[in-house]
Symmetry: C2
Subunit: 303 residues, 2 copies
């Protein structure tokens, strides 16, 4: 029987499965930090932040579960649902960003979330969002293709249209307007999704969450021991700056969360452990760094 | 005779005086990069970006001059001046952020700017903004007092009320809401200023610009050769993360500039050269790092 408790249990289980697998490949351990919002704030709730810092494979890998509730849906959440304006709501989700140490291993982001609102009359209404996207420092076509195929395979049971729609949505969302660059090779992104009804919409979200490890771990395995020099490390640190720029300037969840009093340390799990900025960096023509710009962080069909 | 050309000449001269003095203390050289906005964009204009990277004293010191014009004042600039809505305008300014290498030398920011609008009828209207603020990693009371005294002395000829008003404005502006922290020990900040008439308002802005080197260089001289260990370096890199968070999430100029198609590399001159994030860092009780939080990055009267 589908209800908010089963969704919450699914999300916590997903978090543990993912951090378990990452800890195993890394050899390190996640810190597990359960937190609760102080009483008296408008938003109530709690969460479990799990983070591995300074690991052998992952320099910083954060994966958070949170479950908050509030007396009134914010206007930004009810644009398409005017009948729910001001309704009490719950929001829960798992969000992760993993920053690997080896510059040949891409950074990855995954998020799955549900919002439920209880109108004054009638049944609670739920909708879903989520997705995952891959941000390489050095591009490998087979990695991008594998990641996209895994996303497609997770979505196809829910309709042939889902992967193409959500792939395009991802390209549009993870775009750094001020750099005229995609954040990475993309993946899938969806929001405000309820068109399959609550059970099937949840199943679709869960299918994306369940597909994450299969999409990412084979890439980590292939790349984590590739030899590299200071040059690749320098480029990785430079490109991590783009991740910071996107998350702090453009990402709606991060920006809104920080401006509105969310839990900073949990929101900023996505920040890289070490980052550089330098003026007017230009990759050498024909270099692997130049190929990242020309062949990978552009909109293209990876399948 | 005061006009837009004399203001522009003042600003370019200020930029060169400042970068000249910084190059001298550092021993390194500024890259001088003159740029022009591509024709066909709504905003027209040009600028001179000067930046010193990898210096002996300054790890990254950026100082930019820009002068842009547009056919219509944006609504955000005419809130208090409805009679100028849609008027053609010019904006020019100098903005700098210097990130020193030694963790005992504070980071500093200074900005002076003028906006002029030409209404359909009558004379052009100009207003001014600016200020400077100091962000130490390790606090020294004498540095904060010297910086604030210099700001006060630059403003007192324009009225006894100016320093207290602009000091409070600075504390309010450079506040990291999501951390409940001031960015540093403050300084002065003012915006939308024309109450002394164009000539005296410009003079006040110029007095702030002229005071900058005297406010900052003695602190650099005192601190740049202080011995330090990896511990102080680590704390500096961690605290630089706050600078990034403030500028990308809260600073109106940076955020608006990046969202609206400003010149990214010039806007991001303020980014530190190397930054770390780590989860739930807490300074040891009674340590110099803890004293930064308790005694320095709080609102207080430094005079």
């Amino acid at each position: 029987m589908w209800n908010n408790e089963t969704v919450s249990a699914y999300l916590k289980g997903l978090q543990n499965r993912i951090t378990g697998a990452i800890a195993e490949i890394d050899g390190g351990e996640f810190l597990v930090d359960a937190w609760q919002k102080p009483t008296g704030e408008t938003l109530q709730g709690q969460g479990i932040t799990q983070i591995l810092e300074g690991g052998a494979v992952f320099e910083r890998a954060g994966c958070g579960f949170s479950h908050v509730s509030g007396p009134q849906l914010p206007p930004s959440a009810t644009q398409h649902r005017p009948e729910l304006a001001g309704a009490p709501f719950e929001a829960m989700g798992v969000s992760l960003v993993f920053h690997p140490r080896n510059p040949y291993v891409p950074t990855v982001h995954m998020n799955v979330r549900m919002i439920s609102a209880q109108p004054a009359q009638g049944q609670a209404v739920s909708w879903f969002g989520g997705g995952m996207d891959l941000t390489p420092y050095y591009g490998f076509e087979e990695d991008a293709v594998h990641f996209h195929r895994t996303c497609r395979d997770a979505l196809t049971p829910f309709g042939e249209d889902k992967y193409p729609r959500f792939k395009t949505w991802c390209d549009e969302y993870f775009f750094l307007k001020h750099r005229n660059e995609q954040r990475g090779v993309g993946g899938v992104f969806f929001d405000d999704f309820s068109e399959l009804g609550p059970q099937r919409s949840f199943d679709m979200m869960a299918s994306v969450g369940d597909a994450f490890l299969g999409a990412y771990l084979p890439i980590v395995q292939r790349r984590k021991d590739m030899p590299h020099t200071q040059r690749e490390r320098d480029f990785q640190l430079y490109r991590r700056g783009r991740y910071v720029e996107f998350n702090l300037v453009f990402d709606r969840g991060t920006h809104f969360g920080l401006q509105s009093g969310g839990r900073s340390e949990s929101i900023l799990l996505s920040m890289p452990p070490l980052v550089t900025w330098s003026y007017q960096y230009q990759p050498e023509a024909g270099s692997p760094e130049a190929r990242l710009y020309s062949d990978f962080i552009v909109r293209k069909d990876w399948l």
